[in-house]
Symmetry: C2
Subunit: 361 residues, 2 copies
């Protein structure tokens, strides 16, 4: 990718633009900020698939009221350690923050908070909610189900989503571990990129319509059947399939939301039905167990980062290290580097919503 | 594998033999029964690597007192939803059952029970503890760390174990979902089998001493560096590496047990230090969330099993289906089919421990 395709946008300007977009489709300021914070954090961390890139899809869903931007979630049932929440078809970040804040409160009281939401929408990067728990000194976990895109091992049709899971834990200082991963081998975006490049796919990424692994990026993109993490049966793809199912059980099935093939397809133009996704938010207070958790995390992180690398020039990384580096790079260069295509979409959005266009350098 | 290598042993006889072995190395009857129940369940379900196959290793550890077969665990700290337990170097099944029973009690009271143990030993198949929670109508999870065998992505030495995780949930009747998986691509036993056959390994299973993927089963077995689930970086092996680290954080690091490379190597002859493994046991009451959880599980299971199979003769399976079939087969044939090599080991054990030999047909 040549640097001429990239334009620099200040983090605050990216945030301002997204807030303005949400407000233009009648999202109250507080909710607009919550959703924009989530999306801009994804771009800041280098998870471009979950940032500005998704803005238009959210806006389209809001414009046709298939998401209700103004709604706040309600607690349907609770115990000292659990809550069952109805997101009432609100914005993903609004539902997610509400639930994780509740889980944090419960964890502070009884050691664990386990909050399950139905009636939610796409909630952005799963790691966002783990980070929220970490800010309160807790271990955070979150999972969501998504639209069907993964074929179970031995099947030729999709029946589970990319169903991501995240877990984050603080070490000393600002160091931490932050896992945020889809349970499919790769995200559909990776196949899209190979397709655009005219490049082939490695084995174990995606299937053709007959259920065989394909190296044809165009065919894979059209088929929409990703392999689970692990690829084929020979390389234990059934484990990734099992993990994807585990996420759906703890989110969609447990919350009474849609699950498996009951989840709608998410289209670029907006869907005409509510997504009714299921999500889970878990906070755990490490102080309920052995003292000095963060000190041990520092040692744990250090052991992993210092294992002998295969290539001496490439030190071993920990989950979350790449994202921390991306944030530092953005802070040093003074902004997020967006592709020109992304900026064209933003310009069209600004015109359509009659808001101030995105400023870039 | 030809059927001539196999001998049929009644389930009760397999259990009797294991109990006698444990009692011969001074394990009290109640503990001997707990440990035997776990091992025989693994064989019954077809997880031979976690059954009688492990008996000799347990016995060796007990004989040299590197595991204390008589000890019962103690609670060090607790809240309504959590407990921190010291296993005091007791038998894995004794520590594990104690912790899961405590988690179940807490989940019945406040919706979730989250129990973390240090000072534990190899605890057998992780699914055993999920099943225990399921017997009480709860969703069960369990994880354990293990001796280093997995190389982090980009590393040429092992720094994490096979670190398995399990999750089980009841559907209606006796149907259920039961995931029980190592976070490595394959178990080391699979490499041993390929090595014995003189067969090569598929890509993505294991590394050579330089950190490159190897197809040489002998070299892979000697090196002892398994790939994480997902294989190499290209096929998202860093996700399996992240999952393995997640398990170690929730078990070893959180409980204050050994973790990562601090965990001893587990040798066939018995180690001269305590394992001090970390484990976590989680029970969740689905009744705290949307009603009719089991009914939705039945629908969920049915959707997955009925996805169109790639091969019409091979219906799509769910996590736990293979094990259920194995149990039925054992019940129909009247016993567990053990390899002759296994029976030789048992004969030697019987002689050494001066107990009644294992009867087979």
């Amino acid at each position: 990718m040549s640097s001429t395709c990239l334009k620099l946008v200040e983090v605050e300007e990216s945030r301002r633009f997204m807030i303005d977009c949400f407000k233009a489709v009648n999202v109250p300021e507080e909710h607009a900020k919550a959703q924009a914070d989530l999306l801009v954090a994804a771009d800041h961390r280098g998870h471009f698939s979950h940032g500005m890139n998704r803005l238009e899809m959210y806006i389209n869903d809001l414009a046709i009221n298939s998401t209700d931007g103004a709604i706040t979630p309600v607690v349907l049932k609770e115990t000292p350690a659990t809550a069952w929440v109805d997101g009432r078809n609100g914005l993903g970040a609004v539902v997610g923050n509400f639930c994780m804040d509740l889980a944090i409160k419960k964890a502070k009281n009884v050691g664990v908070g386990w909050v399950c939401a139905k009636g939610s929408n796409h909630y952005g990067m799963a790691g966002w909610y783990a980070l929220r728990a970490m800010e309160s000194g807790l271990v955070g976990m979150s999972m969501t189900n998504t639209s069907p895109l993964m074929a179970p091992t031995g099947a030729k049709e999709a029946a589970l989503g990319t169903n991501p899971l995240s877990l984050g834990a603080n070490a000393c200082g600002k160091d931490h571990f932050l896992l945020d991963m889809a349970t499919t081998a790769v995200a559909v975006g990776k196949i899209e990129i190979q397709n655009r490049k005219g490049a082939s796919l490695p084995d174990g990424w995606a299937q053709d319509p007959e259920g065989k692994v394909t190296n044809d990026a165009k065919l894979a993109f059209e088929t929409g059947c990703l392999c689970p993490l692990g690829g084929t049966e020979l390389t234990s793809g059934y484990k990734g399939y099992g993990l994807g199912a585990m996420v759906d059980i703890l989110t969609g099935v447990m919350s009474g939301a849609n699950y498996s093939t009951h989840v709608r397809k998410w289209t670029h133009t907006g869907a005409n039905t509510a997504a009714n996704l299921g999500q889970v938010f878990i906070a755990v207070d490490p102080n309920c167990f052995a003292p000095q958790f963060q000190e041990r995390m520092t040692d744990f992180n250090s052991i992993l980062r210092n294992t002998k690398p295969t290539d001496p020039k490439k030190p071993v990384l920990l989950a979350g290290d790449k994202e921390e580096k991306n944030m530092k790079d953005v802070d040093q260069t003074g902004g997020i580097e967006y592709l020109e295509n992304q900026l064209k979409t933003c310009a069209a959005l600004a015109e359509r919503l009659k808001i101030q266009p995105l400023r870039f350098k």
